[in-house]
């Protein structure tokens, strides 16, 4: 199967999520190539290994989808790609959907895995708050697939790439949107609704100022801070951060519960979480029943150490 992987770059690096999809595509076998579209990205292409199409143009500098759809359409038609794979992001989702409409090609999104069965691509996606998995397929060629960010690890592959320039011919109607201003932010933290990582604090923290522990850990993990109903009621944290039955429902990849006892009300707020790590000094805390990793101990000692270790790893 001839596959094209759309790579996204932020700053001067290709995103790990895109590299993960590339590694996955390579593991599926067949003819795999990557596309890097942007301005001044040629250098990034060199180290990726394999065939890398580069579309380098000033009009591709801004992270806008429609010019990229033009590039992809041309490339897919010229090279006869049968599948185009994307790692989900705000930009990639818009590109994939636009391309789907342009080519009248089927698009499956939010995939967490894929395989080739009988020569055809089959994707896997969770549904209904991750309570069920669905096998999905395509009725068109090419098949377009959007994978959940972080679904795959970047491979160790690399090495010299065979770089091919893509001729750029952007339609007028694809370039009407203008980037006026851009501000890359040191995350003041994602909102808890969107966060991939959430660190939640409960009554076990003992006092409102202990929320600093939670905030620090959230910061180094790049996550959002949440609070249980008990703590919000006691006025320790604003209820914008409350997770729990009538607070927000969240489904991050990682949920770290610190000093949270795990009353059902709170549980159902975080039920959709991928992995749950709970730290509590009470060995019988109900939260341990559904934590993937239950840590019984003193959070006041464990959390600072954990924060340090994560910080060290990340830098």
């Amino acid at each position: 199967m001839k596959t094209l992987v759309y790579l996204e770059q932020h700053g001067d690096a290709v995103t790990p999520a895109s590299l993960g999809v590339l590694a996955k595509a390579q593991s599926l076998g067949g003819d795999v190539a990557a596309l890097l579209a942007g301005s001044g990205v040629r250098a990034l292409a060199d180290r990726l290994g394999g065939v890398v199409f580069v579309a380098d143009h000033a009009l591709l500098e801004a992270p806008l989808p429609q010019p990229r759809v033009d590039v992809l359409e041309r490339l897919v038609r010229d090279e006869g790609f049968e599948a185009v794979l994307f790692a989900q992001s705000v930009l990639a989702s818009d590109v994939a959907a636009g391309l789907a409409a342009r080519l009248d090609a089927g698009l499956n999104w939010d995939l967490v895995d894929a395989e080739v069965r009988g020569g055809a691509l089959v994707g896997v996606r969770p549904a209904l708050d991750d309570s069920v998995y669905v096998d999905v397929a395509w009725a068109t060629t090419p098949a377009l697939a959007l994978f959940r960010a972080g679904a795959f690890d970047a491979g160790s592959g690399g090495g010299a790439s065979e770089v091919r320039e893509v001729p750029i011919a952007l339609g007028e109607r694809s370039t009407r949107v203008e980037l006026v201003e851009q501000a890359v932010e040191e995350s003041s933290g994602p909102s808890i609704q969107d966060a991939d990582v959430i660190v939640a604090g409960g009554r076990g923290l003992g006092a409102p100022d202990r929320f600093e522990l939670v905030e620090e850990l959230a910061r180094v993990l790049g996550g959002a801070v949440a609070a249980t109903r008990a703590v919000v009621d006691a006025g320790w944290y604003p209820y914008a951060a409350q997770v729990g039955q009538t607070g927000k429902t969240v489904s991050p990849k990682l949920y770290v519960a610190i000093g949270v006892s795990g009353a059902v009300q709170h549980k159902v707020g975080m039920q959709g979480s991928g992995t749950v790590v709970a730290i509590n000094k009470d060995p019988h805390a109900p939260i341990f029943e559904f934590a993937d990793l239950a840590v019984v101990g003193d959070l006041h000692e464990i959390v600072p150490k954990l924060t340090e270790l994560v910080r060290a790893r990340r830098s």
Binding site: H10, N108, D130, V134, A139, L146, Q193, V295
Partner: protein
């Protein structure tokens, strides 16, 4: 300004929407409500409409979805258009975007708004597909919208931070839930909604029903959560190490 809002009527959370094991479609026999994400889009449309404008809500769904559209009318939208046809059962992105584009072509709105995502869709990006079919510029994830002469300016949130984009009208804009707080319909609004025009279109009215480009093969239970682990009785440093170890294993760090 004439604003069209594309909305989806989704199962009301209370009834829960199981997947039908035979057809693999959402069992939609329960109540349908206006998707919460779309309420933000309706609210934004009402804010930018202006005194002489018009807000039309459009949706693809079963006939029962008319009730959910009435909420948008109660909030202040002027008309609703529902594309209801058996041919659209199980419609995917291609079929849905084609149908909506067909209905929108009839409306010729200056601004087409979408809500951020469909709750059971996770990352659905209908707006980009519709914009493509209508040959209009598209801006998504807009958290702040301003209308200028002949253009819109949108401040959007991405994984990296903020961007401000400018698109000439007509344009398609998808708004994030950070953009506003949807108003509660007033009682007069609710009672007045019944009198507002609610049009129902068939597949023929929107250019036919496209075949879906995707298929569902099977449902299965998710992989088991994996063994649960417990760390106890060690030092705080051991515990912290164990956690890091665990996170690395799970590819979360």
């Amino acid at each position: 300004m004439k604003v069209a809002v594309c909305v989806k009527a989704v199962p009301s959370a209370a009834t829960g929407a199981p997947l039908d094991p035979q057809t693999f479609r959402l069992d939609r026999s329960g109540d349908l409500a206006l998707s919460e994400y779309d309420a933000h889009a309706v609210e934004e449309a009402l804010r930018v409409r202006g005194d002489d404008g018009e807000v039309v809500v459009l949706s693809l769904g079963p006939e029962r979805a008319g009730e959910a559209l009435r909420k948008a009318l109660a909030m202040g939208a002027d008309r609703s258009v529902l594309i209801a046809d058996a041919a659209f059962e199980g419609a995917d992105l291609l079929a849905t975007s084609a149908a909506l584009a067909g209905a929108l072509a009839r409306e010729q709105a200056e601004l087409v708004l979408f809500g951020q995502q469909s709750p059971e869709g996770n990352g659905a990006c209908l707006w980009a597909a519709v914009a493509e079919r209508l040959r209009l510029p598209v801006v998504s994830q807009v958290a702040e919208l301003a209308v200028e002469e002949g253009a819109v300016r949108g401040k959007r949130q991405t994984e990296l931070g903020y961007e401000t984009l400018r698109a000439p009208l007509p344009a398609v804009v998808a708004v994030s839930d950070a953009i506003n707080e949807p108003r509660y319909p007033s009682l007069k609004g609710i009672m007045g909604a019944k009198a507002k025009p609610q049009e129902v279109l068939s597949a023929a009215d929107v250019g036919g029903a496209r075949d879906s480009g995707t298929r569902v093969l099977a449902l299965r239970p998710p992989p088991p959560r994996g063994e649960r682990r417990r760390v106890e009785n060690g030092s705080a440093s051991d515990a912290a190490e164990a956690i890091v170890q665990f996170l690395v294993e799970k590819r979360l760090l």
